[in-house]
Symmetry: C2
Subunit: 186 residues, 2 copies
């Protein structure tokens, strides 16, 4: 049964102070210049990304990814990508679908029967709803070596306490740290 292997992972890339975007949406802060001798190189992360069989993202994250694709290419390859939105947006690629409605239905009826390793690529609004509905199995937080001081918070007072289980910690040579937690299910 596919559902047994199903995993919904929430991913965020943030500054140490928890921001996922600057007010002006500029992304140069992603290019950090720290060097951490004990860190690992980035290849592990790339191998890992290949195991993702579906991406889910909010409308603003999608629009931002589309804007960035002009300079950096489309970040999510040919992997099926579902954009959660109530708006009518253009599908920039063949592998983009749009979903509007109940997130429980999305996860249990649309994702679980079809995919194993679903990755929520943002943003903050979608993440907050998924966390509040306790639909997430795992959370991966990539912390960049910078304090931004202002911007869009990833965790914006979700209002629900949830115990986590630390699964993995990876420090990269560029000073990025990735923390992976499973949600403890009661």
């Amino acid at each position: 049964m596919a559902a047994d292997n199903f995993k919904l992972t929430l991913h965020m890339v943030s500054s140490l102070d928890g921001f996922i975007a600057k007010k002006d949406n500029s992304v140069s802060w992603f290019e950090t210049s720290s060097y951490y001798k004990k860190g690992v190189a980035g290849q592990d992360a790339e191998t890992f990304l290949k195991t993702i069989d579906c991406y889910v993202m909010g409308a603003r994250t999608y629009e931002h990814a589309v804007a960035l694709s002009a300079s950096y290419g489309w970040a999510y390859g040919d992997t099926p990508t579902i954009v959660v939105t109530n708006r009518i947006l253009p599908a920039e690629r063949k592998n983009i679908e749009f979903y509007s409605g109940d997130l429980n239905v999305l996860v249990n009826e649309r994702l679980k029967p079809n995919y194993n390793n679903v990755w929520v690529a943002g943003g903050a609004i979608l993440a907050k709803e998924l966390l509040q509905l306790q639909l997430t199995d795992e959370i991966r937080v990539t912390i960049l070596p910078v304090i931004l001081g202002d911007g869009l918070l990833f965790f914006n007072h979700i209002g629900l306490e949830q115990a986590l289980h630390l699964k993995d910690v990876t420090a990269y040579k560029n000073g990025m740290v990735e923390l992976c937690y499973a949600f403890k299910k009661e």
Copy 2:
């Protein structure tokens, strides 16, 4: 010259979503029940704490530490402890001093000539001022395996972007992760 070895470290213990206190000030969430097989035991942290020769904290952190000391003992031992406050507070122990005024003067005239390894134990207001004045050499963030969902944020929009250099990452058996960064001085 003492100033060459001087280091002001800002320390925070927070939930994954960046909260350092719950609204009701209860502390049971500090006792996390995660188990991380690859983590190290806690002894390293204790050896490290002995190198601290002065603690600095805000008034609320002090009052909270005093309240907790009834059940858990005083957390900062006989190490000199300076409480930054404009209020008149009782000194609960001989090694407590109070300071009111300019934080530049505190750091450069009071701390630098007398101590090497000064540890700022909180809270959020004092940390924000020290960060804004760029008086901090190092920041240590201890992340507990829990999402609190609400409470007092440590980094409350400090409004100043600052590049960091990752110095160390330690994962503990109990699922705590400690990240240590140096501030990049321009």
